[in-house]
Structure formats: C-alpha cells, structure tokens
C-alpha cells in the first residue's frame, strides 16, 4: 500500500493546478489585487517550490528570450535569406520547440502517467513523442493552409477560438483513460494478459492461452495514437504565429521548415519525458511491484489508478472548458 501511495504521489506531483486551462480574462476592468496574486510575505514556500522556482524562472527567461528572437530571425530570412540565416532560424525554431514544450499544459502529465502505469518500451516512448509533437504543430499548419478565418483573433484569443478543439482533445483524454481502465479490468478478471505482465500465467492458477498476444502492439499503437491526438490536436499558437508571419511575407516554405524544427524540438522534450518515465518505471516502479507476493494485484491497482487518473484529468479539463 505504501508503494502504491508512493507511485500515486509521483503521478500527482506532475499535476499541479497550472495544468488546467487558463481562466478567461474578466470582462471588465479588474482590481489589481484580484487579478494578480498578492504575495503574502509570511507565506513559506515548500521545499519543492523553493528548489523549482529558480529553475522555472530561468527557463522562463530563456523562453522569453527565444520568443523575442524568433521574429528577428524571420525578418532576416525575409530580407537576407542566406544559408547562415536559414540555419540560425532553424536552430532557433528547434530551441523554441524544446522550451515551448516545457510550458504549461496537461500533455506531459498525461504522457507521464501513461508510461508510469502501462507497459511500454523505449521505442514506443520515442514514437509517441514524435507523434505528439507533429500532431501539435500539424494542427497549426492545417489551420493556416486550409482555413479562411480571422486568424488575428485566433492568435489573440486562442482559448475562445479553439473551444471546440479543446473539447475534442479533453474528450479524447477521457476516452484513452476509459480504454486503459477497461483493459485494466479485463486484466484483473483474467480475460486479457497484459504485455509484460510476468505474473499473469503463474501467480493465480489460471492461464491465458487464448492466443491474443499478437494484438497488443496494435492496441498499444491505437492508444498511443489517440494519446498523441488528444494532446496534440490543439494547434500550437507559436507555430501559428510563425506560419502567419511567413505567409504574410511570402516566405511560406521557410516558415514551414521552421515549424518542422519546432516540432523536432518539441519531440525531443517529449521523448526525454517518455524515456525517463519508462526508465523510472522499469527501475523503480516495476521493482517495487515485482518484489512482493502481491505483485500481480499491485500491478492491476497501478494500471487502474493510472487509467482513473487520466480519466479524471480529462473530465476536469472538459468541465473547466465547458
């Protein structure tokens, strides 16, 4: 039970309130102290906050720096598209992608929980990172190239204009959680043997010899694709801005190349997250759960908790957005 609590606390540590969608701006003038948080000097920061705050502030500074540099690189591309300018702009876009993915959002939490509670190998972690990043940037490309809407208001107020997409995204998260939950229940009842479950065949006297193991990689791929879509289907506003600027200045091909590099940068962050989580699961969680006599039960509880947690996150996000 202690071990389960440890794992759940790890999952929860990834789910601070700022994973929730931003609350819309008030529709009238606002009191300074109501809108911004007044710092109470007596409030003690927790140890985690004390450690993380300077790192967050530093990354925020890098983020602000690169966000400000991107227009300069694009201007140079427009006026003097030399090889050096192109390479510099692509590199800046790559760094932008890395930092952008460290930003607020529920994606990392969902991916982290997913890998922490499901069986996955490193290749799957890498593949999911790629799919998520390209789905996120691909949405922006589709929006710019195929629609004829007032993009000015979209970039100024993305929350309002991406309302429907957000609802789809959050519903997909609930759906993925539900699929994971169903599989955990089937696993618990012995109707499905989960990939990597070393206890299924011998720990409680029943066998799963109905030859369905071959379907697991397909099932994983489907879940994996749904997760990538769920997280990535809201178009990336940063990429949207790059593409709009490129379009307006007749450097669309360069803009598209830049957003590919933004996606690669995002993929790197997501891959690191996925791989570290899988590594952590293999070295810590699996060891914790395989070293006791209730290993099978614990594993099922872990799978079920992860599924319920992802469903709850999806429901909460949807509820806040509706």
């Amino acid at each position: 039970m202690k071990k389960l609590l440890l794992v759940l606390s790890l999952i929860l540590s990834a789910s601070h309130v700022y994973a929730l969608p931003a609350i819309s701006a008030p529709n009238k003038g606002a009191e300074l102290e109501q809108v911004v948080k007044v710092v109470d000097s007596k409030t003690e920061l927790s140890l985690t906050q004390k450690i993380l705050k300077p790192i967050k502030v530093q990354v925020l500074k890098w983020n602000m720096f690169i966000n400000r540099e991107i227009p300069k690189y694009m201007k140079t591309l427009k006026h003097n598209p030399s090889w050096l300018a192109i390479i510099s702009a692509l590199f800046a876009a790559f760094v932008y992608g890395i930092l952008h993915t460290l930003g607020p959002g529920h994606g990392k939490m969902v991916v982290g929980t997913y890998f922490l509670t499901q069986e996955a190998n490193f290749l799957q972690g890498v593949w999911l990172g790629f799919k998520t990043a390209f789905a996120h940037v691909g949405g922006a490309v589709l929006l710019v190239l195929t629609t004829d809407i007032a993009l000015r208001s979209v970039v100024m107020n993305p929350d309002q204009h991406m309302y429907l997409l957000k609802n789809i995204s959050f519903s997909l998260i609930i759906f993925v959680g539900f699929v994971m939950f169903t599989q955990a229940i089937l696993h618990a009842t012995g109707k499905v043997k989960n990939t990597g479950c070393s206890h299924c065949n011998h720990s409680h006297g029943h066998h799963h010899s109905h030859g369905h193991n071959h379907t697991h990689s397909h099932e994983y791929n489907k879940k994996d694709t749904f997760i990538a879509l769920a997280i990535g289907c809201i178009p990336c506003t940063g990429s949207l801005l790059i593409l709009l600027y490129a379009m307006a200045n007749n450097i669309l091909f360069l803009g598209l190349s830049m957003v590919v590099f933004v996606a690669l940068g995002m993929a790197v962050t997501m891959i690191i997250l996925g791989v570290v989580t899988i590594l952590g699961k293999k070295k810590l969680v699996d060891k914790l759960f395989t070293s006791n006599k209730h290993a099978h039960k614990s594993k099922i509880v872990l799978e079920t908790s992860g599924a319920v947690f992802i469903m709850l996150v999806g429901l909460l996000l949807l509820w806040v957005n509706l």
């Binding site: 601070h16 003038g29 710092v39 967050k56 602000m64 100024m156 997250l273 989580t277 590594l279």
Partner: protein, 189 residues
C-alpha cells in the same frame, strides 16, 4: 540512492515551466491632467512583428501591405466593439489605494508602421470622475495569463509635480508566482 535519483528524475520531467508569452506589446503612457486633477491617460501600444503580420492579414483587405484609412477605420470599429474583452482587462488603475473602473476608452487610432512592421494602437482612457493628482498612485498594464507581455516604457509623460518609478512589484505576482509585473508607482505633490 538509485531510487531517489529516479524519483527526482520523475519530478524533474513532470514539472511545468512556462512557455508564454506569445505576443509582445511595447507600451507608452502619458498622464492627462487638468489643473490638480488626473482626467485620464493616453495609451500607445506597439505590437510585435509576428502579431502585427497576423493582424495585417485580416486588416489589409486590398493586400497592398499598408493600412489604408478605410481599413484602419474598420479595424478601429471592430477593436472598440470588443474593447471590453480585448483592452480593458489589461488595464489596472489604483488611485490613492482605490481601484478604479470608472472610465471609457476613446479615440482609438490604429496604424501600421511599414518600416518596423508593427501595428500601433493609440487611444485615450477618460476617467468618468477626475482624480486628485496629489498622492500615491499605481498604474499597470498586465496580462495575468502572461499570454501577452506588456513592456512598459521609461518615457512616462507626467506633470512636473509628479515623479514615478517603474518597478517589478514584488507585492504582486502573476503566472504561478514566477513573474512580478512592471508597475508604475506615481507620486505627485
């Protein structure tokens, strides 16, 4: 020890740092006074090139790369119609410790500077009831979501009897405590 390292690795990869802002606005303010009273502000916002190009895609209907008077007028009308949600939430005024909402926005002029590739809003904020100039006041233009970053100018035009500090106000924070927004602290005799 290994377990601790892995636990920390989890935490390190799961914590969230902020990717915002996406839009930059460079602001210039001028305090408007009549005698010993503050009657309002003149506010100038210059948007960054990226947002400006998105703006121009919608505004520049004849695609000549300029904002013609008729195009400008159409955008001014649109922006003013939505001022309550697109401008007002960013403006925060505190005169002598009291928050003030009693004002209207007027005379919005939108221009496009072709050289700097920036869209510029200039508008007046007119207080319904003038406020005493004498005293201590706080003025801020802030987006609490930090989606828009407002960069304040040190060239704040104020009467001679006043002085100001532009400070990162440590008493207030936005964005999960990571940012102390810049606030004008104005004191007038």
């Amino acid at each position: 020890m290994k377990k601790l390292i892995y636990t920390l690795a989890f935490l390190a990869t799961s914590f969230k740092v902020m990717a915002h802002p996406h839009i930059w606005v460079y602001t210039d303010l001028a305090l408007k006074t009549e005698g010993q009273y503050i009657t309002g502000l003149n506010i100038n916002w210059s948007f960054d090139e990226m947002y400006s190009s998105a703006f121009m895609m919608d505004a520049d209907l004849n695609k000549d790369g300029k904002l013609d008077p008729s195009e400008s007028e159409a955008m001014q009308k649109q922006v003013m119609e939505k001022a309550v949600s697109s401008i007002t939430p960013f403006i925060m005024l505190k005169f002598e410790g009291k928050d003030t909402f009693g004002y209207k926005l007027d005379n919005l002029k939108i221009k496009y500077d072709e050289e700097s590739e920036q869209v510029v809003y200039n508008f007046d904020l007119k207080l319904h009831a003038p406020r005493k100039l004498e005293g201590f006041h706080k003025l801020a233009i802030v987006d609490k979501e930090f989606y828009v970053a407002f960069e304040q100018s040190y060239d704040f035009k104020i009467p001679k009897s006043c002085q100001f500090d532009l400070i990162e106000d440590q008493e207030i924070t936005i964005y999960d405590g990571l940012v102390n927004p810049e606030v004008y602290q104005l004191s007038c005799k």
